[in-house]
Structures are given as C-alpha cells and as structure tokens.
Symmetry: C2
Subunit: 308 residues, 2 copies
Amino acid sequence: MAKNLVFGHQNPDTDAIGAAIAFSELQQQKGQDTEAVALGEAGEETQYALDYFNLKAPRVITKATEETSNVMLVDHNEFQQSVEDIAQTNILSVVDHHRVANFETADPLYYRAEPVGCTSTIILKLYKEANVTPTKAVAGIMLSAIISDTLLFKSPTCTQEDIDAAKELAEIAGVDVNTYGLEMLKAGTNLGNKSADDLLDMDAKSFPMGDKNVRIAQVNTVDLQEVFQRQDELEEAMAKANSQNSYDLFVLLVTNILDSDSELLVIGEPTQMVEDAFNVTLNNHRAFLSGVVSRKKQVVPPLTESFQ
Amino acid sequence: MAKNLVFGHQNPDTDAIGAAIAFSELQQQKGQDTEAVALGEAGEETQYALDYFNLKAPRVITKATEETSNVMLVDHNEFQQSVEDIAQTNILSVVDHHRVANFETADPLYYRAEPVGCTSTIILKLYKEANVTPTKAVAGIMLSAIISDTLLFKSPTCTQEDIDAAKELAEIAGVDVNTYGLEMLKAGTNLGNKSADDLLDMDAKSFPMGDKNVRIAQVNTVDLQEVFQRQDELEEAMAKANSQNSYDLFVLLVTNILDSDSELLVIGEPTQMVEDAFNVTLNNHRAFLSGVVSRKKQVVPPLTESFQ
C-alpha cells in the first residue's frame, strides 16, 4: 500500500513544514507508513531551523494522487491552500489551528483543531496522548514553528499553551528559547537578496472584502528602514501585481520583529478603508501601526469590518 | 453574558442528546456556563435511557441567536442538520464522529472529530483529559449513546475504543451492558403506535449529493415484515415529504437489529444511483442489503460516490 503523505499549506512557513515533520514522525512511531512532504520550498527562516537541528527539508509536491490516495493535513484545511488534487484524495486526518472553510470529506476522519497560536502546540499534545517523546531534532523544529507563528510569543494569537509547549520543547531540544528564537527569526528577515516580487510573495494571502479583492502580504524585518529604502521598487511591483491579478488593493505589512510594530505600504483603492480600519492617515502610501504584528488577528478583522 | 448552548443534530438520537448532556456537564465542571438543549423531542429509545438514569430530556430549540451567539455542536457539523440560524452563530467547538461537510467558521475553533462509532466515546476521552469522572447518570446516558450508535457493538462503525469506553461507563453506571442494551434498543423499535410521518422523521438526515438533495431515514426493528406491511402508507408519506421539502430522493433504511441486516425503501429520483451504489436492483422500490446496519459507513459513502 502506498504511504500516507503528510503536508502543510502552500507557501509553507515554519509551522507548515515543522508540523508535517513532527506529525509524520508521530505516526511512524505508532506504526504508520507516512512521509512528510511540503507544498513549496522552505524559506530562509525554516531552512535555518532545519539546518540547526540537522533535518532534511521535505520533498516538494504539488499533487498527491499520483503517489497515494491517503493524505494527512497539518496547519491548514481550506482546499485552495492545499495540493491541487486535494478533492480527489482520502483525507485521513487534519491537525490545524485555523478556521474551517472550503473543506469537505466523504468519510469520517480524525480532525483536531484548537484555537492556539501554532499547530505544533497541538501536535505536542498528541505526542503526550500517545505517550511518545519527540526526538531532539523534532522537538527543535516544533519549537521553531511555535516561535515563528507567535513571533517569539509577541503575537496576540499566542496562548499560554503555546508558551508552555515551547518551554517544554526547548528543554528537549537543548536550546535557549530567546537566543535561538531571535536568531531564527532574523534568518527569515534577510530580504536584501530578494526581488520585490519575491518579497511580496513570501507570505501573501487574498481576501474578498465587500466587493473588493484585497491582497495582504507580510514580511518580517529587524529594520523597517531597510525595507522602505526599496519603497519605489515595491510600489511598482504592487501596482503590477494588482493589475495582473485583479487585486483592488494591495496591503504590505512590514513587521519589525524586535519592536513588535508594523508599517503599512498601501497601493490601489479604496485606501480610505485602510485609514478607517486603523484610524490613521496614509502619508506617502504609508502608515505606522504601533503594536500590530498579526495579520490574522489585527489586520484582517478591522479591515474586513471597514469594508462592510 | 448569555450561556453557551450545547446541542446535537436535528431529529436527535440517543447520541445527539446524550453527547450534549455529557459535553455540557464537562464544560460546567471546567467552569463554563453551558446548557444542553436538543433540536427535537427525544425518541422512545432515548426517553427510555433518560428515564432509566433519572435525567430530564433537554429543552427543545430550533434557533439559537435569540438566546445566545455562542454554540457548541456535538454529533454533527453539517449546517443543514443544525439550528436554522447556525450560520449567524459563533461556533466555539465541535465534537463529532461524522465526515465534515457544509461547515464553515469565520474564526479558529476547537474541533475534535475521530472516526469512532459514537461521539460519547470521544467525550469520555475529553473527561479523562480534563481529569473529570462522569457522574453515574451522565455515564449511563453516554453508555446508552454508544449502545445506540453501534447497535450493541454490531455496527461496522464500532471500534475497540467504543467497546472499551462502554465497559468503563457501564461500570460507573452500574448496569450490565448486554441486558440493559437490548432492553434500551427494543424500546426504540416500538413502531406500531407511530404514524408514517413520525417513523420517517425519527432518525432522518439530509445530504446534498451532486446537485441533488437526498434524505436518508433509518428505523430499527426486530421484524422487517412488520414495517413493510405499511409500505403503501410509507411510500405516500415519503412522496409527500419529497415534494414539501424539495428532497429529490428519499431513502428509508429499515434495520433489523437482531439479524444486523437492512431493507431499503426508495422514493424519488434518481433511483439509478441507489442501484449503482449497492449493486442491487430495486424491486417494488425495495432492496435487501445483507449485513448493512450503518447509514454513515455503509450507505452514505457508496451513495455519495455514485452521485459523483
């Protein structure tokens, strides 16, 4: 029988890849034939974590059914974020921390979602329920996923459970959370070698809002000025992306992971909605948002509301 | 703040009501303000179990938002099986053992589904994870739910986990599983005093399949012939239900709980899909399905597939 493929979402972040590795490892401990794969190449932050813990980046796939009919999803459930042939697969299980939408199965399955900051926090629970301790390397990549998703516990999506899980995993992985965490996050902020298009595409999602199509991209940095030195180039790429993909509005959230603040760059219309949502005035297409680091919790909800 | 309502599916069976009672009780033990309610009156089997363990039947509701915005679903997730205003509620959690379909939330939630025979089996796990022991009465209604959903462990949906959970709950409830179980199941097969409409409504669910709306009802009996003596009356009621509720196809699964077989009665179109799904020829709108007792595992999946 073909093995079960385990994978996170497209444009994988550290949780999408780390949770796949950790969940696959747990299934193998329980006697299942599984393989962790990824729906895209690991980014620099994730690669730093993989290298640090001597793990290989998972093989990249875009379809599943050529290899197997049985899949296990982590860190996502919406079909448009999954393999292109997801509707033709048999989904055995989902472990996730997002809303449920555009998801359907023909058969009963194992579905475990909890409203915590990171999928890997839930997966640590599953290890405990199965009386299995993650190896040092697996604990390390799970810890990396929690640090990544919660921006070292500073994101409002972070819960006490995430913090507790990270402490426990750091112990097994043998690293200091803050020292390691900051180094790992910084590895993902190496933006200088990326084109403006790459930068806009690193972590971007589209959202229908009112009758508009809004694109919201996020990049992490340790120096806002370094990113905004390239403002002209970014604006040009955003305008091009708008016209090529029928986005009405492109919002780039540039997040300073050291100060836990963000600055917006906004191209397209209606900009009024952005000003209303955050009670700011755009100046040279920009606005500073003090204390804002989470697209999911601090950007999408107020923006959605201002479009209504 | 208004309390959180906990409920199972429309046309509640013993698990829909038992799981709601058990999950609500657990939430209360954890300090939450919850109330178990039901989306319909308890049937005779459920009433037998409630009476046996001195429990009150939950209050019946059809809408939630007049009372609260926060709801917790057990034993279902598909919106068409829930309160009519489910899309306007804030779904805090789901505990279920069915496929996921026609379900969507705006926010992350707690979702726990496992492919076991009964929701109450999962809820016993949740009690253990919270270090709470169910009371004698709650253990009794959870045991009843497992017996009901697994037809006293004879359904192919039954897993070792269901059997183990039932043993453990029987111990707490202080009953002999087989003696109590058979009495409880028989209490639900008293069909003679029911109208054809009542009978079709006892345990019925709607399923969108392809572009058709399929209604699948199930009744348990100890004598198939007793039910089919009323075939004309049933067919008339099924045709009426189809036209009144825009069902394309009405499938009645009459299950002999002693022999673990079923006979289908089918009204509406396309009947070809039914014949294809089970590799049978309908004769006088009927077909015998040897060894079939589970709508979820033996009827919905092949029928869904034949509509694709």
